[in-house]
């Protein structure tokens, strides 16, 4: 049996974190691989958080926020979209596989979508195997 | 043995001296801390936070614990102030030279302290008072920003004044409602007291600015540079003369100091 991949998720408390709750209360099945970190907004996620997660052993990182137009703070996710569009490409440029980082919009009502993203990402990470790049104890 | 690896030690007791000074009683868990002389320092560390060079406030006697009076200033000292009795710290030392007490035998002594600068002086004062018969008068002049910033109150107001031939004069920069004593900065206060320079050794420690003006005051009072001593504090990393941080000209404060005579200081560049 291979170890389950470690997936770190930064989830906006107004939407994606609630979406994860909904997935749980709806008894939707998704892998237990995700370590969810509640943040006030996807705009709060500093790209160095993502790097830190990879350094400390994450096999993949998800940043999840409200759909564009639905941000509790009006525009946090729109800044995050610009930022992570660049960061995603940059991580790939450094040699990370594209599947290891995702930015997704998941609303509080989308428990199903949350479970689906986690399932997809976990499957991708299982296929890729453990991440050694950027990791401090490879 | 790697000199940078500390002994693990336990905080036995913590005393709150002032709002930002606490005195920690510390004892190594394994071997006893080596004998130390008044004026010497030790590296005190919290694992995961870092190290700071702190003067040893206690006076050595066999099988006694170490005392460090620590003012909350930076990262390490702030974390130390969060510590509780029973917590582990690292300790290594003793480091540096010490006050040339034997040279003072037969003379009067004048100690001039400011703020937490009394911590290294306390070690040498208690050492000298322990050898009371060997010295003449022992006069202690001490000041702090305000009455609540006075360290070592028990000794200042109770034990030291009771010693025969000893005097204690305390001043504050700014009084509060209860304070009835003098209100003055230490250097002018010292000049007003007009201590007799003849045959007296003077020792001072305090913040850099206070040391600078006290040295000038002592000169005006007639103290020759080779009878005035101070103890310096600079940023240190290793404590053992390697890391380069505390150099003043060709000297390292950690191994060649921290005690310097005013004469020695004048031969060094003003980088302290």
């Amino acid at each position: 049996m291979t170890a389950q991949p470690k997936l770190v998720g930064f989830a906006c408390r107004w939407c994606s974190y609630a979406g994860a709750d909904l997935a749980g209360t709806s008894r939707l099945e998704y892998p237990a691989s995700v370590h969810l970190i509640r943040v006030p907004c996807s705009g709060r996620v500093d790209p160095t958080f993502v790097i830190r997660a990879f350094q400390r052993g994450a096999d993949g990182v998800l940043v999840a926020g409200c759909h564009p137009g639905d941000c509790h703070y009006a525009s946090g996710n729109l800044f995050a979209r610009r930022r992570f569009a660049l960061v995603k490409r940059f991580l790939e440029y450094l040699g990370l596989e594209p599947e290891r980082f995702r930015l997704e919009w998941i609303s509080a009502a989308e428990g199903r979508r949350f479970a689906e993203v986690i399932r997809e990402m976990t499957a991708d990470l299982e296929r890729l195997g453990p991440n050694r790049k950027l990791r401090e104890d490879p | 043995m790697n000199p940078l690896v500390p002994q693990v030690a336990t905080i036995l007791a913590i005393r709150e001296d002032t709002p930002d000074v606490r005195t920690f009683t510390v004892r190594p868990d394994g071997e006893d801390f080596p004998p130390y002389r008044p004026g010497q320092c030790a590296m005190l560390s919290l694992f995961g936070v870092g190290e700071a060079m702190i003067s040893i406030t206690s006076t050595w006697a066999p099988e006694t614990a170490l005392e460090f009076s620590v003012k909350r200033a930076g990262r390490v000292t702030s974390a130390l102030h969060q510590a509780e009795p029973g917590h582990k710290v690292g300790v290594r030392g003793p480091y540096g030279n010490s006050f040339p007490v034997d040279q003072w035998v037969g003379h009067d002594l004048l100690f001039v302290g400011g703020g937490i600068g009394l911590a290294p002086l306390r070690s040498v004062i208690n050492h000298c008072l322990g050898r009371r018969a060997e010295f003449g008068r022992v006069d202690i002049v001490y000041g702090a920003r305000s009455p609540r910033d006075l360290c070592f109150r028990q000794e200042l107001f109770e034990s030291w004044p009771k010693v025969p031939g000893a005097s204690v004069q305390v001043t504050v920069d700014a009084a509060d409602a209860e304070w009835e004593g003098p209100v003055a900065l230490v250097p002018p206060f010292l000049e007003q007291l007009k201590p007799d320079a003849a045959g007296t050794f003077a020792v001072t420690c305090g913040p850099p600015v206070m040391i600078r003006y006290t040295l000038q005051a002592l000169t005006r009072l007639g103290f020759p540079d080779d009878r005035v001593f101070t103890t310096l504090e600079l940023k240190m990393q290793c404590g053992v003369g390697k890391c380069g941080r505390c150099s003043i000209g060709p000297k390292y404060v950690c191994i060649d100091g921290p005690v310097f005579s005013a004469a020695e200081l004048k031969s060094l560049p003003a980088e302290y």
């Binding site: 400390r56 | 043995m1 790697n2 000199p3 940078l4 690896v5 500390p6 693990v8 560390s45 694992f47 995961g48 936070v49 870092g50 190290e51 700071a52 200033a73 930076g74 990262r75 390490v76 000292t77 510590a83 509780e84 029973g86 917590h87 582990k88 913040p207 850099p208 504090e233 600079l234 940023k235 990393q237 290793c238 053992v240 003369g241 390697k242 890391c243 380069g244 941080r245 505390c246 150099s247 003043i248 000209g249 060709p250 191994i255 560049p269 980088e271 302290y272």
Partner: protein, 338 residues
């Protein structure tokens, strides 16, 4: 002094013999620059002058663990790292080897000898290649070091046409030559050494050594330091690449209940180098920090150790982004004095 000849075509075998009992490092060209790295069978890139990094990388590494700790507030256990293993460094220039000897004066000073440096130094064999041509920034002769200097080396190789003259400087060097006896020819070639001893070191950056320390102290408060400070960027390139700079800092890192206290290079050119917790800083300006660096190397270290803390390797001149070459700065100061 034992001397042997090594035919040039057997140099690779000689290196393999060194690599048998130790990790073997030497200069290699990587992405267009020459660096000391583990050779791993690559041929060394022996060029005039020095690789970008110095031997410091292998004797006082950029960062290394002092000890690991584990536990909580009331229970801590320390663990010191394993002792270093044997290493040999091939193709060192004489100035770099002399620099080790200078650094050792401080780091090995008793009673607090730097244990990790001492262990590494004892496990390191230095095989020096004397210079037949100076590099573009070299000024070793200006600070009393020769292109054929053997101080700090275990074995010195003097290149000649078709062979190298090998000289064992230390007992460890002697045992290297003994173990490589099969490749060596007991013949001698004094001329090979003499040639290197007379290698010209260009005049650029020549330093007038007469009373240098006193002349520098005399200008310690000259406004020209402010001029240098305007140019200086306050980075640490000069000090980190300098083979005689040994300043370090200690720092802790924590991962849950485990942690590590490490030491790592630090630079007196950094603005927080001597800044104290209460805000006091004995070196509050860039000018004061630059002055500290120069005076330490050329006046204050010599006052205690009798030798400069500079070996003329030229790294500061070759790498400073704004051209603050040590020898250049000295000649500017001379100009200012005149």
């Amino acid at each position: 002094m034992t001397m042997n000849l090594l035919p040039s075509e057997r140099l690779a075998e000689f290196r393999e013999c060194l690599a048998a009992g130790a990790r073997l490092y030497g200069p290699v060209e990587v992405d267009g620059i020459v660096l000391f790295e583990e050779l791993g069978g690559r041929p060394p890139a022996i060029r005039p002058g020095n690789p970008a990094n110095s031997l410091k990388s292998f004797l006082c590494p950029q960062t290394e663990a002092v000890f690991d700790f584990e536990g909580g507030y009331t229970d801590v256990a320390l663990r010191v790292p394993a002792a270093p293993t044997a290493q040999a460094i091939f193709g060192v220039r004489p100035c770099d080897a002399v620099a080790l000897e200078r650094v050792s004066r401080v780091l090995l000073a008793e009673p607090f000898a730097d244990e990790s440096y001492r262990q590494r130094r004892e496990m390191t064999t230095i095989l020096t290649m004397a210079c037949r041509e100076a590099g573009p920034h070299c000024f070793c002769r200006s600070v009393g070091v020769s292109p054929a200097d053997g101080r700090g080396s275990d074995v010195v190789l003097y290149p000649a046409d078709g062979h190298y003259l090998l000289e064992a400087v230390t007992a460890r060097g002697l045992s290297v030559l003994q173990s490589a006896g099969a490749f060596l020819d007991p013949a001698r070639d004094e001329a090979a050494r003499a040639t290197c001893q007379s290698t010209p070191v260009p005049l650029i950056g020549a330093v007038e050594r007469e009373d240098l320390a006193a002349r520098l102290e005399a200008v310690a408060l000259h406004p020209h330091w402010d001029e240098l400070a305007r140019r200086c960027l306050g980075c640490g390139a000069c000090t980190f690449l300098c083979p005689t700079c040994y300043c370090f800092a200690l720092f802790d890192t924590v991962r849950g209940a485990r942690g590590r206290r490490s030491r790592g290079w630090d630079s007196c050119q950094f603005k927080d180098y001597s800044l104290m917790a209460g805000g006091h800083d004995p070196l509050p300006t860039k000018a004061s920090r630059i002055r500290r660096r120069f005076l330490h190397k050329l006046s204050r270290f010599p006052a205690v150790q009798g030798e400069y803390a500079c070996v003329g390797c030229g790294r500061c001149g070759g790498t400073c982004p704004v051209g603050l070459h040590l020898a250049g700065v000295l000649s500017e100061l001379e100009e200012v004095l005149r």
